[in-house]
Amino acid sequence: MNLTVVSVYPTLLGTYGDGGNVMALRHRARLHGIEVDVINIEPGDAVPESAELYVLGGGEDSAQTAAANALRADGSLKRAAERGAAVLAVCAGYQLLGEYFPDANSAATPGLGILDIRTDRLPKRAVGELAADPKEPLTQTLTGYENHAGATHLGPNASALATVRAGIGNGDGSEGATTAHVIGTYLHGPCLARNPQLADLLLGWAIGRDLPFIEEAEVTQLREERLRTVLG
């Protein structure tokens, strides 16, 4: 079967290797016998509304504002999320899914209102390995690298994705946010390459059935090494 993944503005939102999330989705899907069609959408292109899965990465401040403005004007991503499409958004992409986020001059900038979150500034930039224990249905500790200055506050309509064990995350001991089939996170790494269970969860939502976990030795070894490094 075929699955359409939309990579949203990869030139604006892809500074920290987050393009790897699309590669990881394609790779995991193949392990499960699913072929993925990737559509790269740049500002100026209309965002397709009927895809099953949307991916947004991190980016610099001015690129983040440009992306948020273009996506708000386009409107399709919000409609797709509301009808239940799966969305993964990382770092700057995560922040812009919320009600507002700080721009390059720390002024609150309106986001897309897809996630019930609000982001302002951390007192000190969060840079380093991040490890967090996820909520159901995920069971494997999340591992990645964070590099952001955002303190993200969750409203009642969003749940934390995980509880921080090492690093900063949202800034209050929680990491990421989720609602329906939308996941936002501060994890780079890229997060789907380092957390294949998360990739499988998104793919499962996109195709409408749970996928059995398939282990790969390289990935397991990397995860063990990273978690050992930060958790001892």
Binding site: L12, G14, G17, D61, A193
Partner: protein, 456 residues
């Protein structure tokens, strides 16, 4: 009145200053007198002594500690020691060490030149370099992107080369737009400096376009992902093979005065009035031709003979170990420095074609960048059809990346150990290409030096 100024004599005596005759500007042939305060002289001596002690104790080159001593004792030492003798500063994300070496070699046509020979390109490295060698020599200095504004203001160079900007060591927060903004502010009132800037890199153009004196060089840009967006208005830039521009606000590529052409594996630099200079460099690849083109134009701005510059630059065979062929353990390797996606995407073309196996070494120490997520921006897919040996502290990150790129690989902690299970045919290769991040590269270089020392 006699030709001495008593007030000045007295104050000079009071400050116990030295006078050092120093050459500036071959074009004008002017000679300046530089006065170094006793404080700076003493600081420089102590700093050099500290460097040398640190080196003898086997703690690296000692540039950082030596520079710290100098700047702690004499905070203005860089400005004093640089006074009117800095011919050029060179900065870029990629190629600054090679460009600096090429330029320093070319500028030697006008007399002695001091320059870093270790790649120590932050404040302390610059301080130690200026404190060492012939105090009358001209200086050609490589400078880290983030430190450039401070060092530019202190050294007041005659020329500054700005090569390219792309993502690198993001854990140090060097986002490209931030660096470009700092460079733009630095150049706003740089009336005594000629900027030699790459017209093909929009971030460089954005930083340099309002500088009082700019010479644009079309040196090329292979990696465009970090200059996708107009820094003025946030629109997506439009590109074709030869030019770029913003469809919204009109920010566009300036008309270059000099253009690099890549013909039959070497560079040709075209200048005004049908000038044409071949660049038969010993350093490989188009990106080194771009480095050479920027250096060549800088020598023109310094009033030197470009044909002689090109001849001299051709003699540079290896820069601080880059492309050097060394023996490590049982293998003879060619050292390639590959530290970020832009550098990598050019380096892949320098490697032998598949199925020749290669070694890739990834570390994540401070100087490499702590976060190896950038591996996912490197087009490793282009290494398909061969076996890659994944090694270094972050070999497991590399293995996962290669798995996704569908590149065959083996993970080996130490491929230079006698019993290492290397891919078929690797031991039989006369020279194995080994691409390594910064600290891995230096480790290999020094291991091979130690090995050579044991043999002799």
């Amino acid at each position: 009145m006699a030709d001495t100024d008593p007030t000045r004599e007295a104050s000079a005596e009071l400050r116990r200053t030295d006078r050092v005759r120093c050459r500036i500007g071959q074009r004008t042939g002017k000679v300046a007198v530089v006065t170094l305060s006793a404080r700076t002289r003493a600081a420089a001596r102590l700093g050099l002594l500290t460097s040398s002690l640190s080196r003898k104790m086997g703690r690296g080159e000692g540039m950082v500690i030596g520079g710290r001593v100098i700047l702690r004792l004499a905070p203005d030492a860089i400005a004093e020691m640089a006074h009117d003798r800095v011919a050029a500063l060179v900065s870029a994300t990629n190629g600054k060490t090679s460009t600096t070496r090429l330029l320093a070699t070319a500028v030697e046509q006008a007399g002695p030149v001091i320059s870093q020979n270790t790649g120590a390109n932050m404040t302390s490295g610059v301080a130690v370099t200026l404190a060492s060698g012939d105090p009358a020599a001209q200086a050609v200095l490589e400078v880290d992107e983030a430190y450039l504004p401070a060092i530019f203001r202190a050294t007041k160079p005659r020329v500054i080369i700005l090569g390219n900007l792309s993502r690198d060591q993001l854990d140090r927060m060097n986002e490209v737009a931030m660096i470009a903004r700092r460079w733009r502010d630095m150049l706003a009132d740089a009336t005594d400096t000629t900027v030699v800037a790459n017209a093909d890199d929009p971030s460089i153009v954005w930083a340099a376009r309002h500088a009082p004196h700019v010479t644009w060089v079309a040196a090329g840009q292979v990696w465009t992902a970090d200059s996708a967006v107009c820094l003025d208005c946030g629109s997506l830039l439009q590109r074709d093979d030869s030019t770029w521009g913003c469809p919204n606000c009109g920010f566009a590529r300036p008309t270059p005065t000099w253009t690099l052409e890549w013909v039959d594996d070497h560079g040709v630099v075209h200048g005004p009035h049908d000038q044409r200079f071949d660049l038969p460099l010993s350093l490989p690849g188009r990106f080194n031709a771009a480095n050479g083109a920027m250096a060549l134009v800088a020598t023109v701005e310094l009033g030197l003979d470009p044909a002689e510059s090109a001849r001299r630059m051709a003699t540079v065979e290896s820069v601080s170990g880059r492309y050097a062929v060394v023996k490590v353990g049982e293998l003879t390797i060619r050292l390639l420095l590959a530290k970020n996606p832009a550098g990598w995407s050019e380096l892949v073309d320098v490697m032998p074609p598949a199925p020749t196996p290669v070694i890739v070494t990834i570390n994540s120490n401070a100087a490499d960048g702590r976060d190896p997520s950038w591996l996912w921006d490197v087009p490793f897919e282009r290494l398909r059809g061969r076996v890659v040996v994944a090694t270094g502290d972050r070999r497991r990150d590399l293995a996962v990346r290669l798995l996704h790129a569908e590149v065959d690989h083996v993970v080996i902690e130490d491929p230079y150990a006698p019993g290492a299970e290397l891919p078929d045919g690797m031991r039989e290769l006369a020279v194995v290409d080994c691409a390594a991040t910064y600290t891995a590269f230096h480790h290999l270089r020094t291991s091979s030096d130690r090995q050579a020392a044991r043999r002799s």
